[in-house]
Symmetry: C2
Subunit: 492 residues, 2 copies
């Protein structure tokens, strides 16, 4: 685990990359822009998946699976969607390799195995799914369709960063079909609420719910709702989106239903997704210079027990206590690892589990054995305490709850302190460049102004918050009338 | 649900395709050879995944995720593996589309966005994973690596069938790395046992464990272990494979470790996988002319309650009883659906749930209300019985267990009755052509003979059973000496 320690304040970006690799979360692969998610990182993703999947099912959704490939003629059917993704599509053109006649140890693409129609590796699945829904929907009885898919998608990004922006990533994409506009709008907002609930109550990340501007909207959507988080470097991160697709895809794929009254109507649609990008948000919100800090609800290992011993007799005696503690904690559904490896020293293990963000560390040494005590340390505040073994289970249960809410409150305070209300352009530029965080400012509602602000400062409108106060004001850039403040920030 | 009913004895293949579609399991997609797994089919796959995943974790494995794409130079590094899959590879050659200058509503592959090196869509992940393991393994302390991946893979098959053979399919692939040959061999067999355990105790399918002949071995393996099941039409189906890869991939990717003694050694490898093909095995083993029959342990809905009523008052009275029953059953971890839809008649619902293989159906009508009874029907034998509500929970619990073992025993009897010992070529041909099932026959051990038998009869050697009796004999085809009987069959 020896590595060059980087502090957040010195080089935030390097700190992040270092942490992702050294905490064994992910690494770059031999494929440009694609990552390997390592077992420890994947275990966190699995915990996220499990909770999200439960929430989707509790709100009436089922999982299904649709093809990885989208034939080009289907891909281009919904024009805005196609245009939005065309520049970052991996394209399959051939279906066979053959031995290279010039070097029999090498393979080459077989020019005779060219596909009649190219296949796009899905960057998102609206096209393939709506071409399928056409066969599933005839009558109002077939609606709503509430389907989710866990899948990999590919978007050929030029500049990639582990978890935050990779050519291939893992995600879930919900795709629902409804008889009415009202119902589809309700679904859009319902799933945004599910995402916000998950972000705040499991990831311990406070989020702002809002609507994207037209410029920032998902290609093919009528409206894009989002949750936005704030990272420790003052940059925003879009954590999830829920799209009201109107009848755009129904029209592109001619999906109609017969209403109770016998009338043919186009179907209304939503789609919504979160991805392995959430791993990036989780890491950047809570972690510190010593490594990952994990909210207990998403920690694969919640408690680690490290024995401090000399010789086998001491280890045996400590193991007996440790295994009994492990047992007691596990009976309360707390996940525990007892690390009795003799290949590493306790100090090394302490750093290792700090780096990996294990919420609670219990150390047991010979003196503890005599006194019936253990030393307990919490990852977030680094506080240590010596406890009677008999008090331990209650203490740990309480501590995990406390850490979960402590992390949320800390992130919320940071986010709130970083929110600045700004009324002049000078102040806007100063805050964006020097202070960061969210900037609440009046905006004239035009895409043109939005674009100019972005060019001048790299700040984008993260969202028009759902709880925006309607109030007359003056656009911070153009001086034109505004109906309320929107949230600007530099963003990932 | 109106459809042309096909009996197994009339057209087994058509019966299968019909069932897959009408039981809402899967359907063909707009992409050649790729399927859509529908919500009900996917729910069964999720139940399989959950059990397998638990078993993998209980045997010490963790999940991880590796890229979808394999750069060509890595793909060709292990020559036999590359050769084995080269003819069925989907190849990504470009990373961008652009507007077609001849028709602005269409897209075309941008010829300027050609990849420097082609990317193969993974048909299996040994190459990308072993190129990654090279960075993970330095010392004996880094071993073993016990990793599994749940993923989609693509093999460009020319003749496809839903679940059994599709261009894209879902699977899990375990990839382990070990310090010694013994350990890798133990792992290979351990995972074969996990698969057999899963097949028999969850899928209720008896399997034969064996080793593949050299001709049938996985490309790049030293030995391929397999489990083979027998379908109702007398054809075998390979349900899972576990490969001892020797040091082939370690050598191809130069993966060495330093032993405790300070010596550099190549690493030993295994890989093992099961796929959505198991869905095909599940369907074909148990189902009947009325539809799917599911072993209770893998049924997404274990009990359905159908009310039989006239008017809202009756429905309300029945619903009260039904919901109380649902509650009682769910408290025993039994999954229950109460289908009170007023858009469909009870008879329609009975057929629907028969088609979908729901193990237990409970019907409640007005007379039941008076008598405190319900009618209970089991899917496998179609037996019906009227019961007191008070006896119901015990009865259902017992019935689900009984059905699980009944389905296994029935399949086992069928499989055992279909196993024929054959000593002459004439008899061999007769049994393969007219009786089907497994044929136990002596074989001289040569690939040439194996190939000739295949050409003559379409039968292949499914495996050399692990419990093969070593006995001198005469090859059924060549008359040359044989050391024991192997199992032949026509296969999916």
């Amino acid at each position: 685990m020896a590595f060059e320690k980087v502090r957040r304040e010195d080089d935030y970006s390097k700190w992040y990359n270092n942490l992702v690799v050294h905490a064994d979360l992910a690494e770059h692969s031999a494929v440009r822009g694609c990552m390997v998610i390592k077992p420890y990182g994947y275990a966190i993703w699995e915990k996220m998946q499990k909770e999200l999947d439960r929430m989707f099912k509790e709100t009436g959704h089922s999982n299904a699976y649709f093809p990885l490939f989208v034939p080009k003629h289907l891909f281009e059917a919904e024009e805005k969607n196609a245009e939005g993704f065309a520049k970052e599509c991996a394209v399959v053109t051939h279906y066979r390799l053959k031995t290279n006649p010039d070097d029999s140890s090498k393979l080459m693409v077989d020019p005779e195995a060219r596909l009649e129609e190219e296949l796009i590796v899905r960057p998102t699945s609206e096209a393939i799914i709506w071409s399928t829904y056409k066969g599933w929907i005839q009558s109002y009885r077939d609606l709503p369709i509430l389907v989710n898919q866990w899948a990999n998608v590919v978007r050929w990004e030029m500049r990639t960063r582990l978890f935050l922006r990779t050519a291939e990533f893992l995600w879930q994409e919900g795709h629902t079909a409804h008889a009415t506009k009202t119902e589809a709008l309700e679904e859009t907002v319902k799933m945004l609420d599910v995402y916000a609930d998950f972000a705040e109550n499991f990831m311990a990340i406070p989020v702002i719910k809002g609507v994207k501007t037209e410029n920032e909207r998902f290609a093919g959507a009528e409206d894009t709702y989002c949750i936005e988080g704030m990272m420790q470097d003052g940059k925003a991160l879009q954590m999830g989106t829920s799209h009201f697709l109107g009848q755009n895809f129904a029209k592109a794929f001619d999906v109609k239903y017969t209403s109770k009254e016998g009338v043919q109507e186009y179907v209304w649609a939503t789609s919504w997704g979160v991805s392995t990008r959430l791993m990036g948000a989780l890491i950047m919100t809570h972690s510190d210079d010593d490594g990952l800090v994990l909210p207990p609800k998403l920690a694969p290992i919640q408690v680690v027990i490290v024995p401090i011993y000399k010789g086998e007799d001491q280890l045996n005696a400590i193991s007996e206590v440790a295994l009994s503690i492990k047992n007691d904690l596990e009976s309360k559904d707390i996940s525990v690892k007892f690390d009795d490896r003799d290949t590493q020293k306790p100090g090394w293990k302490f750093s290792e589990y700090e780096m990996k963000g294990v919420p609670v560390r219990i150390a047991i040494g010979p003196r503890d054995l005599e006194n019936g005590t253990v030393e307990i340390a919490r990852r977030d505040t680094k506080e240590k305490e010596t406890l009677q073994v008999s008090d331990l289970v209650n203490k740990v249960e309480h501590l995990l709850e406390q850490m979960q809410s402590n992390l949320f409150l800390k992130a919320e305070t940071f986010r709130d302190n970083g929110l600045t209300y700004v009324d002049t352009w000078e102040e806007f530029v100063d805050v964006i460049n020097n202070r960061g965080g969210f900037v609440a400012a009046h905006w004239d509602g035009s895409g043109e102004t939005e674009e100019k602000i972005k060019e001048a400062t790299k700040a984008t409108i993260r969202c028009i918050p759902l709880d925006q106060k309607k109030e007359a004001g003056t656009c911070v850039f153009s001086g034109k009338p505004s109906e309320g403040r929107v949230l600007f920030a530099k963003a990932y």
